[in-house]
Amino acid sequence: MASDEQQVKNSTATAVFDSDAANSLVKDLRSTFLAGKTKSHEWRLSQLKSLLKMLDENDKQICDALFSDLGKHEMEAYIHEIAMIRNSCKLALKELKDWMKPEKAKTNLGTFPSSAEIVPEPFGVVLVISAWNYPLLLSVDPVIGAIAAGNAVVLKPSELAPAMSSLLAKLLGKYLDNSAIKVVEGAVPETTALLEQKWDKIFYTGNGRVARVVMAAAAKNLTPVVLELGGKSPVLVDSNIDLAVTAKRIVAGKWGCNNGQACVGPDYIITTKQYAPVLIDAFKHNVKKFFGDDPMNSPDISRVGHENHFARLKKMLDDDKISGKIILGGQTDKNNRKIAPTIVLDAPEDSLIMSDEIFGPLLPIVTVEKIEDGIEFIRSRPKPLAAYLFTNNKQLKKNFVNNVSAGGVVINDVTLHLMVDTLPFGGVGESGMGAYHGKFSFDAFSHKKAVLYRGFYGDAPARYPPYTPGKLRLLKAILDGSLFGIIRTLFGFS
């Protein structure tokens, strides 16, 4: 029996997921969708309830997979991934009936008498491509939205988090309706095969380079996309702040969130030349407080996700342009893929660390003469997914909020806006397009169909030929929406 099982495992392991396999998969899911199964409220609720059950019954396995892939501490696994998904599920379960209801729309004199509404409907068969840094959250959260909206879904988890990828394949296969929800594991060839198919929506989380490939593939079928990307999320720190709280929040937000490997993690700091030393001291103090004397080896800090990323970060550290500017950390451990919390002061603009999204535990500090210069600095660069400001100065807050374009902005904290499910979460410009979380997830995976109901009475002759100057006048009045104007015209005054 063992050898039979082994044989089956071998055959599925070596079966290539190519374009034909992808095509067949989409076909099956489309049949399921067209049969109407995923549209029912009951079905959607049942899937969401199963997801919740899946999380509750397997939280240890999930934490183990996250630790195996990323060295993530159980706390981070819980608060940044599991808890957020649970809350997403619970919110969808609670609100779904309301979300599914048609929304009444106003009508005007132009179509009187009539009534109108906007009806949400699923797109059909959707593809969710996830990322490796929050492999549970970024896989399941969009899937929750897709299911809530009534779609059939294929999830492609990131191969760079292999333990979570295979766990998701196993668990989603066990708990959810396989005729409508499927997981496809794999890397570039499998993703390419998937992207060759015709999807009704594609939701991609990742980087700008691959996003372009995804959108170009989507263009072939006019598939709408949501692209959740990244960027260099800046933190502008004024001197008019509560230093202790500021430093804690920034240090926790940088190194306590997957060790800097978060799309909304603080990428770099901007502060005044004058204030920098004070701020740096506070950072150093908190790094020690949170992670101990040997932060690189603290159990509370995640590993670097993958060898390639380690090499990329190492290259940034070895960049000649920043030699002599590392004022904290800089140690690396290749075998364990660890890099210490590192601070770099005044790296030149053309250094690697200041050009690309860091996505790691290196924190450059850029100093400016006046704090307002920081706003200009940010504005001269591609729009990030998040932008942060620490200050008590009302004017500076107003200036920042109004003039810094980013996916989201947080004042006096970092990353927290992710947890507010009434705020749309998404990027702009290079940091992406579209948004999700809360009802925005439901909306992202729904087509909002406009519906107009008319009766046969109240037919305005002015609409139809033969056209006359009188009809033109009446039409003008109707389109103007002026009842008085219509009456005047009908009575011959115009």
């Binding site: 159980e74 706390m75 959108m215 263009a219 709408p224 949170f290 009434t422 169909k449 109901y453 046969f456």
Partner: protein
């Protein structure tokens, strides 16, 4: 062909204007909107003449579909723009206290609007109204297939609108391709499915978000109706087919599905209606637009070259090469595999497809790409529900055609092959805006359990926080509850 350098300079100027912040001000935006109103009011007669000569549109049609639409849009935007521009605030759960949240709409930056030839004024100016309301700088690329309208816009706009923020660039496919090489913050495209794919592929290079307003075969499901309603219904179908630029409209009726037993009644009524609306002499049709150019004229004629299709003509079928007019034509059950039943017709040929039972229309429609609009004439409430639940389209209108276009509160856009994104009313403002989430916190009341080093206590505390279990959080903080073993 526009000079490369000139194009680059124009785009650069628009970027600098946007950077200066000028277009952010509500006053600037309102001034531009008022200028658009003045533009169409002061040039109404010129516009009537242009549309008549370029497309054969009667002034009533031009007003209803173009000038009136722009006026209504601009009025609507002026009325609501302050509301649209103000941030949307909301409450936060206690666990975030003290904090506030809002969503701020901000302009995307530099946008490109590519118009279509069939409604050469409204399909350029209506999106422009959205782009301006949202505070962007704009390049307009009107369709070269309506060259007089394009020139008119190019010449007249600078004297009404801010030339440093809104520019018209004329030209054909070459110019469009040139423009698509630039990095835009948004592209709004109205046109064919084929061109839509090219636009989106170009946008992908710069991760530019797009709105694609495309087309499709907009069907009419025509249920059996009592005589009292048949007349009105037939008028609406006729007007929806032939009254909008002679069928050259994205939401125009493409084909009709009717029950076999009702087909002749419907066709007879349509014939009567055509005669009243347009007359029956192809050389002397009234209130009827022409086909835009020889290319499209020949394309439409080629649909009838298939003898099986030609044999299905039950009314009309005459073509006038000199005036580029094709008379309103009805075909009864042309072969379903003919081109006329598989491509968007975009012209005055109306196939009538018969079924045994009208309910079969749902499956038929679903076998084709999702259209921009679906029309259904029926009084059967259950059937309406089925149509809504079992078909997908940009929009659905019951018992009328085309009029959904004038509802500012209804989103106007497609799904699937008919496009994505939407506009009209506030949707226009939104389509050209980025909704930025803003969360503001205070420094006091720092929750220590948020920060490392991690411990069982902190895990329990945060679990309670996520559950919004404030009692438990408080008890944990006060030490009155111990964390349970993990």
């Amino acid at each position: 062909m526009i000079d490369d350098l000139e194009m680059r300079r124009s785009v650069e100027e628009l970027r600098l204007t946007f950077k200066s912040g000028k277009t952010r001000s509500g006053d600037w935006r309102k001034a531009q909107l008022r200028a658009i109103l003045r533009l169409i009011q002061e040039n109404e007669d010129t516009l009537f003449r242009l549309l008549q000569s370029e497309l054969g549109k009667h002034p009533v049609e031009s007003y209803r579909d173009e000038i009136g639409v722009v006026k209504k849009s601009a009025d609507h935007a002026l009325t609501y723009i302050d509301q649209w521009m103000s941030p949307k605030k909301g409450r936060l759960p206690l666990v975030f206290f003290p904090a506030s949240r809002k969503v701020l709409s901000e302009p995307l930056g530099l946008v490109l609007i590519i118009g279509s030839w069939n409604f050469p004024i409204s399909l350029i100016l209506d999106p422009l109204i959205g782009a301006i309301s949202a505070g962007n700088t704009v390049v307009l690329k009107p369709s070269e297939l309506a060259p007089n309208c394009a020139s008119f816009l190019a010449n007249i706009l600078p004297s009404y609108l801010d030339p440093k923020a809104i520019k018209v660039i004329e030209g054909g496919i070459d110019v469009s391709n040139q423009l698509l090489q630039y990095k835009w913050d948004k592209i709004f495209f109205t046109g064919s499915t084929k061109a839509g794919k090219i636009v989106m592929a170009a946008a992908a290079m710069n991760l530019t978000p797009v709105t694609l307003e495309l087309g499709g075969k907009c069907p009419v499901i025509f249920d059996c109706l009592p005589n009292s309603d048949l007349k009105v219904a037939a008028k609406r179908v006729a007007s929806g087919k032939w009254g909008g630029c002679a069928g050259q409209a994205c939401i125009g009726v493409d084909y009709v599905i009717v029950e076999q037993k009702f087909a002749s009644t419907l066709i007879e009524q349509l014939k009567k209606t055509i005669k009243i609306f347009y007359g029956d002499d192809v050389k002397n049709l009234k209130n009827f637009s022409k086909i835009i150019n020889k290319g499209h004229f020949d394309r439409l004629r080629s649909y009838l070259e298939d003898p099986a299709v030609a044999n299905s003509i039950v009314y009309g079928g005459s073509f006038d090469d000199t005036s580029l007019i094709i008379e309103p034509t009805i075909l009864l059950d042309p072969p379903l595999d003919a081109a006329i039943m598989n491509e968007e017709i975009f012209g005055p040929l109306l196939p009538v497809i018969t079924m045994d039972k009208i309910e079969e229309s749902i499956e038929f429609i679903n076998s084709k790409p999702k259209p921009l609009a679906l029309y259904a004439f029926t009084k059967n409430e259950n059937f309406k529900k089925r149509i809504l639940a079992e078909t997908s389209s940009g929009s659905v209108t019951f018992n009328d055609t085309m009029v959904q276009f004038v509802c500012d509160d209804l989103p106007f856009g497609g799904v699937g092959q008919s496009g994505f994104g939407r506009y009209h009313g506030k949707y226009s403002f939104d389509t050209f805006s980025h909704e930025k989430a803003v969360l503001e916190r205070s420094f006091y009341l720092e929750l220590e359990p948020r920060h490392p080093p991690w411990s069982t206590f902190k895990l329990e505390f945060l679990r309670s926080a996520y559950d919004y279990n404030y009692v438990r959080m408080l008890l944990l903080l006060l030490g009155l509850k111990r964390p349970s073993n993990p």
